[in-house]
């Protein structure tokens, strides 16, 4: 293995290809974690200490230095965002790799183990012909070993993309999952005075307004391929479902008599679940790609709402008032058998099934304030994730299941927050004027 790594170090100095965002080292993609560093199921108890050095400018261009610092900062922030790395403060660094060099032989690993770093990232930035090329290397400091090196090339303004592609690769090799760096979050904001759907990148960067209904737009849901967002809107003075293709802005409408709310895709990217009331009762239906009714899933007098499907498409969790107060139930789609999931509390809603299929996150309300809870799909291991911090609602899993995005009124106005799946590292995602609610995390666009 070490031999193989050394071969790759040599490779990195070969001239780069002209394709954007290429990676030189075509290593067969591992199907599970290559290295046993991080347990993704609960990685937040023992965070891995990582040092991100300031990247070295390899070209003469004066802009190189600034871009090097910037890229290094972006890596730092992206890795810090995951919640399973302990980011080592640059102030503590004992050697300057901008001066010494960024390859293995130039590094004195003792200088890094001494400050507690277990992983070390170096970077070399080359600017040539208006293109940006970054060589990344990840080292295990205790083994004094290169774990992998990658070179990415792109346009100058692709810096974030390049950095996040590397972070994705790094996290994939450490955890077996792509992480969140190439995912997006949709949410509702009242920035314009009306509730409209917005999107941003995983870390709150690059906020874009998606809808301009000048009315109410609610409950965004991503198509698994990330191409479309389904949402509920009152633009025709009643709640109807719209499916908006993000690239061309084309919309499809699903509108039956009564309410048409809480659309959610199945993982096949085709069928969709939604709550409709055209039969006089709020029931969950399965809809075809074209918005026609495939079949009615729930058959119970009383509110049935907010479907979420297991990743294998065999089960659905949903909210029902059938026993008096809103609780979460699980229904087998083939047999129709229904089992109650939540017993704690009198008001449990907004379920979201985890990408791994094992857990369901939801919000439970007591005395008017909601909190986020997780429970295994079999009803075991019930755990409260938020406490004494305003009302916490609308939880949504990150594509790798490591993070949860939700809305919180902990600082008065509702804002979007992110926390780890264990409930640690709770922080605000972005600050916009108005109120932000209903966050929904997309799949990773690089699966």
């Amino acid at each position: 293995m070490l031999q193989f790594m050394k071969m790759k170090i040599l490779n990195i100095f070969l001239p780069a290809g002209s394709v954007l965002l290429i990676s030189l080292f075509l290593i067969p993609q591992p199907c599970s974690a290559e290295y046993d560093y991080i347990k993704i199921s609960d990685p937040f108890l023992n965070k891995i200490p990582v040092a991100v050095t300031i990247f070295k400018s390899l070209s003469e261009e004066s802009a190189g230095k600034e871009i090097s610092l910037n890229a290094s900062d972006l890596v730092y922030k992206a890795l810090a965002f995951t919640g399973y790395f302990k980011m080592i403060d640059r102030e503590a660094f004992l050697e300057d790799l901008q001066v010494k060099g960024i390859t293995g032989p130039k590094i004195n690993f003792d200088n890094w183990t001494d400050i507690g770093a277990e992983l070390l990232i170096t970077g070399g930035v080359t600017i040539k012909d208006g293109h940006l090329q970054i060589d990344f290397r990840l080292f295990d400091t205790f083994k004094s070993e290169l774990l992998f090196g990658k070179r990415y090339k792109g346009r100058l303004d692709d810096q974030r993309k390049i950095v996040h592609r590397f972070c994705s690769e790094m996290v994939y090799r450490l955890t077996g999952k792509r992480g969140v760096f190439e995912s997006m979050i949709a949410f509702v904001s009242t920035t314009t005075g009306n509730k409209e759907i917005f999107t941003c990148e995983f870390d709150g960067y690059d906020v874009k307004q998606v809808t301009r209904t000048k009315s109410l737009a609610l409950f965004p849901a991503w198509s698994p391929d990330g191409s479309s967002i389904a949402y509920t809107s009152y633009q025709n003075d009643k709640p109807e479902i719209f499916i908006r293709h993000l690239r061309d802005g084309q919309e499809k409408k699903i509108s039956f008599d009564g309410i048409n709310i809480t659309p959610v895709w199945m993982h096949d990217n085709k069928k969709m679940g939604a709550t409709l009331s055209f039969e006089g009762d709020e029931e969950i239906y399965l809809l075809t790609e074209t918005g026609k009714i495939d079949k009615r899933l729930t058959k119970n007098w009383g509110i049935d709402v907010s479907p979420t499907f297991s990743p294998d498409g065999k089960k659905m969790a949903f909210v029902s008032k059938r026993f008096g107060s809103p609780q979460i139930f699980i229904q087998h789609l083939d047999t129709g058998a229904v089992k109650r999931l939540t017993y704690e509390g009198k008001y449990n809603t907004q379920p979201d099934w985890s990408p791994a299929g094992d857990r369901i996150v939801y919000s439970g309300m007591e005395a008017g304030l909601a909190n986020i809870f997780v429970i295994n799909a079999d009803g075991k291991d019930f755990k409260q994730l938020t406490v004494d911090s305003g009302s916490n609602e609308s939880p949504s899993w990150s594509p790798d299941g490591s993070l949860i995005v939700f809305s919180s009124t902990r600082t008065s106005k509702s804002r979007i927050y992110v926390m780890t799946a264990s409930g640690t590292d709770q922080r605000v995602l972005l600050t916009l004027s108005g109120k932000q609610t209903d966050p929904a995390w997309s799949s990773s666009f690089n699966e």
Binding site: I259, S277, Q350, M365
Partner: protein, 193 residues
């Protein structure tokens, strides 16, 4: 000669009398004819097509009273309309059941709907801010639908009644306390034509 003349005169009178009696008796027996046919054409006749009582014009006071009466009728009608629109029906938390107060108000609204058969109405279901948005839209729909069903059972045509739920999106009181929540858990009525 004088005697003879007299005789002739008497005879004429008698004849005329007989004639008159004959004519009058004939006219009694015959069905009534069109007035134009009943009289010789040269006879001037008045055909009454309109009959108007000639009365004294209304006094200022009387006009005023009539105006006030008309205004009062409009006011009462408008008041009933305003009451219909302004009086909301309230609900308990997480509940779409119609309370006895709610039923009383809805019955009054049914009366108004019967008195105003041309009116169509939108029943809006609303919720307080507690609880989650998705569930509250379903709950608001249930509230509106419950009222529609009640009204249809009371004889109002379903085609005159539509429903919409706004969940917790359109509160009337933005405060964060029980009195505000109680006001927001409501069904509101809008006349659509």
């Amino acid at each position: 000669m004088k005697k003879g003349k007299l005789c002739v005169k008497i005879g004429l009178i008698i004849l005329m009398g007989v004639f008159l009696v004959t004519v009058s008796s004939c006219s009694e027996k015959k069905p009534r004819l069109d007035p134009m046919e009943q009289y010789p054409s040269e006879t001037e006749t008045v055909i009454v097509v309109e009959e108007v009582d000639v009365v004294q014009p209304l006094t200022e006071e009387e006009l005023e009273a009539q105006r006030i009466q008309e205004q009062e009728a409009i006011r009462i009608k408008e008041e009933a309309r305003m009451k219909f629109v302004n009086e909301d029906v309230y609900f308990n938390f997480d509940d779409a059941t119609l309370t006895s107060d709610a039923r009383m108000i809805i019955k009054q609204k049914v009366v108004w709907l019967r008195d105003n058969p041309g009116a169509s109405v939108l029943v809006e279901g609303h919720c307080d801010e507690r609880g989650t948005e998705e569930y509250n839209i379903a709950l608001g729909q249930r509230r509106a639908q419950g009222i529609k069903t009640f009204m249809v059972n009371a004889g109002i045509s379903a085609s005159r009644l539509s429903t919409v739920s706004y969940g917790e999106e359109r509160p009337v009181d933005f405060a964060n306390n029980e009195s505000a929540w109680a006001k927001n858990r409501r069904a509101h009525f809008k006349i659509q034509n």
